[in-house]
Structures are given as C-alpha cells and as structure tokens.
Symmetry: none
Amino acid sequence: MTREVPLPETSEDAPETLLTPAEVAQLFRVDPKTVTRWAQSGKLSSIRTLGGHRRYPQSEVMRLLDAGKAQREDS
Amino acid sequence: MTREVPLPETSEDAPETLLTPAEVAQLFRVDPKTVTRWAQSGKLSSIRTLGGHRRYPQSEVMRLLDAGKAQREDS
DNA sequence: CGTGAGTCGGGTAATTTGGGGC
DNA sequence: TATGTCCAAATTACCCGACTCA
C-alpha cells in the first residue's frame, strides 16, 4: 500500500516521466551515444542525475517522434 | 489508530516535507538504491528515522532536479 | 499483534559518460 | 555534419536476506 498523505506541493509539481538514454535510443533506433549528442547540441532537453547520467523528458521525446514519423521527408 | 503525518503547518516552523527513497527515485528515474548512494556520498542530505530508514527534504530534491536541467536551445 | 510493502546492507552485472578516431 | 564503434572509468541496476514502516 502506497503512502497516502496529503503531499503539500510546495509549488507546481510536474510529474514528468523521464526516459533513460537506452530507452530513447531504442525509440529512435539509434545508438545511445547519438542521443547523448542530441542533448549536447541542444536538440533535446535533458536532466542530470546526481551522478551525471542523463534523463530525457518522455513528453518531448514523444513529440519529436511524432514530428517526424507521419512525414515522408519534410513538409 | 492515530497517524503521525506531517500536518499542513499554518504558521512558523519550516513545514519541510520529507520524501521517501522511492519517491525521490521516481523523480530522477533511478533506482531507490541509487538515491541511497547519493545520501551516503553526501550529494543529498537525509534524515534518519529511528529505525534507520532515510527521508529526504522535498525542497532540496526539487532544487537538485532543476539544477540538472538542460533545456533545448530552441523552445 | 500480524501483514504487506518498503528500505535497509552488501555484492555483482549492466549502462552511461567522455574522449578519440574512422 | 552526422552516426557508429572502441576504450577506460564512473555510475547505476538487479540480486539476496533481514529489518522497518504503516
């Protein structure tokens, strides 16, 4: 049973789901290293764990996936 | 049975909300064990229950989340 | 006072990072 | 310019048994 206390969200809580580099890489069918390069070049937002590993917002990844899937090349 | 949950303090005193290892882990998309290592290495402050379990200040967790943010250059 | 979920510990795989070169 | 691969070091994930929490 999960704890059910009234979490007094200090401000605005965005339960943003995060994806690991491997997960994003599989979605795009590229190497995890490529995903890292996207993040480094500012093409993709990223969050850092306290150990330095990157986590990517699922919502943005999905948006970028949809942006280029139904199109033949580019409209 | 009466439960000792953090009441929404209406005045002074820092109503510091404490998060469980599992909650912090979900926010960073890491394993609860990883959060424990962060606390052990001093990267994250923690409170100990009388039984030895760790609790983490929500405010600090949120601050660290924002600190590791890297947005896209184009928004 | 039981019960189930969560969190200790430690150990050992798997993943990620960063740089360099193709 | 963009992606894939090799490398070593660092970080993280999963395994267990025992204990704590609600």
